[in-house]
């Protein structure tokens, strides 16, 4: 089912009358049957957006549509959504079976059928053998799967997941991520997956939505957003290690960093911010490129070598010192102290104005 948000706004008023625009004029269409990753730093309004979709919070302004139906004022119990809470919110006094059965009982599903569905769903999430345990007798990952089962058992029109993996250890997180993806593919339920982990969002989602301060920054397929960020925030938020940001100038159709030419541009002369992805540096073995540095630190892990270069600066304060990272082939056997000439891949370099907006 397609979800459409139109100019959705949610303002929280704190006790001291100060206002927080947790969701600010958001317009977004989530295509049917897709898994969307809602991504952004802590406090950017991800949970709030989810709760607005669920109906647990009421928007101050704007509209929500499920397909053609406007649901802006429909109470949560009538929206037919499944929601997995940030900390699961399993009913502690009910067994796994009762937890999963609960929504079906409320929807007056016939008892035999409900029982059968519960067992089926438990099998889908691999918890058949634990149906009679209480939530506190389960591990974090198992609890999370119960929460997913409870959300899915009523075959919701939309599945909303609020940082469902945040409490899991690294391995379990990877495993559950795959499982969510698998379940979503099997059920074809339109899913919104909230996370602040860019890697998680990029790996699981059909499309990602990047949010900041309640405002949507960009939406698109993960790789497209990564390859073509619409502003500096998005460019910095995606990718690990982070994108390198340099102060640069454009003069006579050429781009300069520290008076060294790194590329060409059609933009008019002026100061710019230049973002270069760590994998965007090529080592020029003929040593012809004018873009050269002495390498300060080298760390090799497997195939890749990370070079760390301190940029020259006028100030002696260490906090003002800037450095950048380049990831190159480990075969090059670069050592610290070496002078390296870099060529910058144009498709890995983005220009921004001083406000962080993308140029070109």
């Amino acid at each position: 089912m397609e979800i459409k948000m139109e100019n959705l706004t949610k303002v929280f008023v704190a006790k001291d009358k100060s206002e927080v625009r947790a969701v600010d004029n958001v317009s977004l269409t989530i295509p049917s049957g897709k898994l969307i990753g809602l991504l952004g730093p802590s406090g950017c309004g991800k949970s709030t957006t989810l709760y607005l979709l669920a109906g647990l919070l009421r928007q101050n302004d704007g509209k929500i549509y499920f397909e053609e139906d406007e649901v802006s004022n429909t109470p949560p119990e009538k929206r037919g959504i499944g929601l997995v809470f940030q900390n699961y919110a399993l009913y502690p006094h009910m067994t796994v079976r009762e937890n999963i059965l609960f929504p079906l009982q409320n929807l007056k599903v016939e008892a035999e059928l409900a029982k059968q569905k519960t067992v089926e769903m438990a099998r889908l999430v691999g918890l058949e053998s634990m149906l009679d345990r209480k939530p506190k007798e389960l591990s974090g990952g198992q609890q999370q799967r119960v929460a997913i089962a409870r959300a899915l058992v009523k075959t919701p029109r939309v599945l909303l997941l609020d940082e469902p993996l945040s409490n899991l250890d690294a391995r379990l997180r990877l495993q559950t991520r795959e499982e969510i993806k698998r379940i979503q593919r099997e059920t074809q339920i339109t899913t919104v997956f909230v996370t602040h982990d860019q890697e998680e969002a990029m790996s699981i989602s059909d499309e990602i939505v990047v949010m900041k301060d309640g405002v949507i920054q960009q939406m698109g397929a993960p790789q497209d957003v990564y390859d073509d960020p619409s502003n500096l925030f998005v460019a910095k938020f995606l990718g690990n290690p982070q994108i390198n940001v340099f102060d640069g100038v454009i003069k006579g159709k050429k781009i300069y960093i520290n008076d060294m030419v790194v590329g060409k541009s059609k933009l008019p002369d002026g100061e710019v911010l230049i973002g270069i992805r760590p994998e965007g540096f090529i080592v020029d073995q003929e040593k012809k490129s004018p873009f050269k540095f002495n390498i300060d630190l080298v760390s090799t892990i497997g195939r890749d070598t990370t070079l760390i270069v301190d940029l020259p600066s006028e100030s002696d304060n260490i906090l003002d010192k800037k450095s950048f990272k380049a990831i190159v082939d480990a075969m090059l056997r670069i050592q610290s102290g070496d002078e390296i000439h870099f060529i910058v891949r144009p498709e890995k370099m983005f220009l921004f104005n001083m406000e962080g907006e993308r140029l070109e």
Partner: protein
């Protein structure tokens, strides 16, 4: 090391244990002792006397029709007032919780009975239940119901008991509401959000989420208020005065029975009868508390 710590622990506990010994265990054991004395005369010239040990005091009160009247009245009060007052206070607490703005005001209103003198309120209630001028009969008349003689000389047993129950239930609400509202505040709000997502009706939420999550509080309240109801006395005095009923002793309770003999302490063995009745009440209380503990163990969620 372990031993030394144990000694320390006992030392720390000593003041409390000594006080408990003086004010709880000694009176209890003393009551036992008095209850089995034969022809006990506490005020005999030259000091208290008794002729020996006997169980005849128990036999005597168990053959006393008035004692059985007291048992019956006490049980009726306990078994009707406890569940009803728990239910009412639960409903009020839950409703209060859903109107945060008025909560403070209502909490004060409901708490007033708790800080007001029971005897004074009893007199007010007695007046409310007056056959000709009382508020209750006035309200019944609006519903087209004939006036009931609640507490007058010729009131039926059930009418008196009705008035006593209303008063008992009302007087116990404040504390229960207070405990339940603080219990409700401990329940994570997220369960209610989850229940909304799971399409639960208000009634389902109350029955399947609120009540189970409050169950430790409900158990605590049901045990303490059961004990309180088994010891009912002030309410009877408050409503009916020293006659203990519309007719002499018609609303007598076990504690009132104890008190009656205790007041007659000059009579031979009267104190022993009082002690025997008190001991019987003690065992009734213990048995009920144990039953409640066992029954609820399966149903209480911690």
């Amino acid at each position: 090391m372990e031993k030394r710590n144990n000694l320390k622990a006992w030392l720390y506990l000593a003041p409390l244990l000594i006080l408990m010994g003086i004010f709880i265990f000694y009176p209890l054991i003393n009551a036992f002792y008095i209850s089995i004395l034969e022809e006990y005369r506490p005020l005999a010239p030259g000091g208290a006397t008794a002729t020996g040990y006997t169980l005849s005091n128990f036999a005597r009160i168990l053959n006393d029709e008035l004692f059985w009247q007291a048992i019956k009245n006490t049980f009726v009060v306990a078994f009707i007032s406890v569940p009803i007052s728990i239910l009412i206070s639960l409903v009020i607490a839950v409703s209060l919780n859903s109107i945060p703005k008025l909560k403070a005001l209502y909490q004060t209103v409901f708490f007033l009975p708790y800080v007001t003198n029971a005897i004074a309120i009893g007199m007010a209630f007695a007046f409310m239940f007056h056959k000709d001028y009382g508020l209750i009969n006035l309200m019944l008349s609006w519903l087209g119901i004939d006036p009931v003689n609640w507490v007058g000389n010729v009131a039926t047993w059930w009418a008196q008991m009705g008035a006593l129950l209303v008063y008992t239930i009302w007087g116990g609400l404040a504390f229960k509401i207070l405990v339940f509202t603080s219990g409700l505040q401990n329940i994570d709000k997220q369960y209610y959000d989850a229940a909304k997502i799971d399409s639960a009706s208000k009634w389902t939420v109350f029955r399947r989420i609120t009540v189970p999550l409050l169950s430790p509080f409900i158990l605590y309240i049901s045990i303490t208020s059961m004990i309180g109801a088994l010891k009912a006395y002030r309410t009877v005095i408050g409503l009916f005065g020293e006659r203990l009923g519309a007719q002499q002793n018609s609303m007598i309770t076990i504690v009132a029975y104890v008190y009656k003999y205790r007041s007659a302490y000059q009579d031979v063995s009267a104190i022993s009868y009082a002690a025997s009745a008190a001991i019987i009440l003690f065992f009734i209380t213990v048995v009920f508390s144990l039953i409640q503990g066992v029954v609820s163990r399966k149903r209480v969620h911690y």
